[in-house]
């Protein structure tokens, strides 16, 4: 991969919370390097606390890593880059006092989109996620799945090249999650966006990703990258195919040891504390 087609370059990134010796000291991420290609969907998967969300926040400029550098579109990341990067958070990142439509428009206001474009862009992105009829509902009146669709519409309306999604379906039930995953695959196949998607779900990772980066236990780093060669949009039949099962099993085997390590580690730290 050449520099030109890397949308995001992660070079030797480590991150720790607190200082050595303090009770809240955590080495979240250790010497991680990775290039993310333009237009690819990369899933980050790993045991709890392995630093995958930390890496996402570091890419988005929401955290400054303890060491290492990130480049987005050839520029070093020093803070949020609203023109290049949009986020979809796990849940409850919609402003509850604004309607769905107002939430989408507010994102564009923050990003600096001219007011005259707000209405059409908001309508378009709400239609894309199937929420056009709920534009005037408040988030509290929607189901969890619909709220995440609204959050996605807000991110899409910003028309960034990069979309960072931090366990966007993590709080949803299995069935809602499946449908949202299918819709997301269809939706994203029609855009050129580069997407980094953090998930706990093996199936979700295989179904959505071009590549799945598997993290090791804390301090996390990328243990292995698995490629999923399957054209987008992914068909629901893909889930029942042998290829899907094989990839899922491979991921499971890779993750299983790391999850065991994490569990053992947390039991040990509980004993000592």
């Amino acid at each position: 991969m050449t520099t030109r087609d890397a949308a995001v370059r992660i070079k030797g990134v480590s991150h720790q919370f607190g200082e050595a010796g303090e009770t809240q000291y955590v080495r979240a991420l250790s010497d991680t390097s990775l290039d993310i290609a333009r237009g690819e969907l990369l899933c980050l998967i790993g045991p709890s606390g392995c630093g995958k969300s930390t890496l996402l926040n570091v890419i988005g400029g929401l955290m400054t890593p303890t060491s290492g550098t990130i480049e987005v579109a050839g520029k070093p990341v020093r803070g949020p880059m609203p023109q290049d990067i949009a986020f979809v958070f796990q849940e409850n990142a919609l402003f509850p006092w604004n309607t769905v439509l107002e939430n989408v428009r507010l994102g564009m206001l923050f990003q600096g989109v001219p007011k005259s474009e707000h209405e059409t862009r908001a309508q378009k992105s709400l239609e894309a996620v199937g929420l056009a009829d709920f534009a005037h509902h408040y988030p509290g009146q929607l189901s969890g799945g619909m709220r995440q669709r609204a959050a996605l519409a807000r991110a899409l309306s910003l028309k960034t090249d990069i979309l960072l999604m931090d366990e966007p379906f993590g709080a949803l039930d299995e069935q809602t999650r499946m449908i949202l995953g299918e819709d997301l695959s269809v939706l994203l196949a029609s855009t050129e966006k580069t997407i980094v998607f953090v998930t706990h779900s093996l199936g979700e990772a295989v179904f959505l990703a071009d590549r799945v980066a598997v993290f090791s236990a804390r301090p996390g780093t990328i243990k292995k990258i698995i490629r999923v060669d399957e054209p987008h949009p992914r068909k629901p039949e893909f889930v029942t195919s042998e290829k899907f099962a094989a990839l899922r099993n491979e991921l499971y085997a890779l993750l299983h040891d790391e999850i065991r390590k994490t569990v053992a580690e947390s039991a040990r730290s509980r004993e000592t504390s």
């Binding site: 988005g60 609203p82 949009a86 986020f87 507010l106 206001l109 923050f110 408040y138």
Partner: protein, 256 residues
């Protein structure tokens, strides 16, 4: 179905509340007309009702009402301005919250009305001492709720706004203020209620005019029926004012 049950329960509890108040009225009537309670202690409710109609017709209450309402509005405007401003700046750093929040909460828990004689010495018997006391007392719930409101904004919302490029002003205007508003509004409602209490209360203790002052004058003149009529009048005014404030509060948090 659930909604209908809720509404039925709402009507039911309303009926019990009205029944309770009617019961008190009946007891009051029986106490004065059947059980021979002294009229100087407890006037007949019918006489009070006639006095109330007379008070309302005569509009003699207007000067006192004007004094009390002016005191209330000025005091509330002062405590609102200072409470929200101080509360916002205190909420900006963890350190100042740790210093000032317990301090304000501590002062709030002492009965500030004890300082009324001091206020009268400083500001005189006129409206100024009532305004100062009302403003002081209502400052505390407002400043405390403002600190709570601004310091408990959901971090995810702040992060989301920053990730989309919100400026400091936009963050304040579109995230911090709407997030803090419901909490601040209930602080304002509490502040308003206790400002009204403090002002009418202090008028009954040391004053030259106002509804509280008038009630005490009637009591000293042994004009009990008219005094009760005035008390009923003040109760109605207080209920109306609190109704207006609660309505405004509900409008400010209509999205919840």
């Amino acid at each position: 179905m659930a909604r209908r049950n809720e509404r039925a329960a709402g009507i039911g509890s309303r009926a019990v509340q009205i029944g309770f108040l009617l019961g008190i009225l009946v007891l009051w009537y029986l106490a004065t007309n059947r059980w021979g309670v002294n009229r100087l202690l407890l006037p007949n409710p019918i006489a009070v009702w006639q006095q109330l109609l007379d008070v309302l017709k005569s509009s003699e209450y207007l000067p006192d009402l004007r004094v009390t309402l002016t005191e209330l509005l000025v005091a509330f405007a002062l405590s609102m301005t200072f409470g929200i401003t101080v509360g916002f700046f205190v909420s900006r750093t963890r350190y100042s919250i740790r210093v000032f929040d317990p301090l304000f909460a501590g002062i709030y828990s002492i009965p500030i009305i004890l300082f009324l004689p001091l206020y009268v010495l400083f500001f005189g018997l006129g409206p100024a001492s009532k305004i100062a006391l009302g403003a002081t007392i209502s400052f505390f719930p407002i400043v405390l709720s403002t600190i709570a409101g601004f310091s408990n904004v959901d971090r995810t919302l702040v992060t989301a706004a920053k990730s989309m490029g919100a400026s400091d002003y936009q963050l304040f205007r579109y995230v911090l203020v709407p997030a803090a508003l419901p909490v601040i509004l209930s602080g304002l409602r509490m502040g308003f209620t206790i400002a009204l209490l403090a002002i009418i209360g202090s008028e009954t203790i040391a004053s030259l005019a106002g509804l509280g002052h008038h009630i005490v004058q009637l009591a000293e003149g042994m004009d009990m029926a008219r005094m009760f009529a005035y008390i009923a009048f003040v109760v109605v005014i207080a209920v109306l004012l609190n109704g207006i404030v609660s309505f405004l509060e509900a409008r400010g948090r209509r999205w919840t």
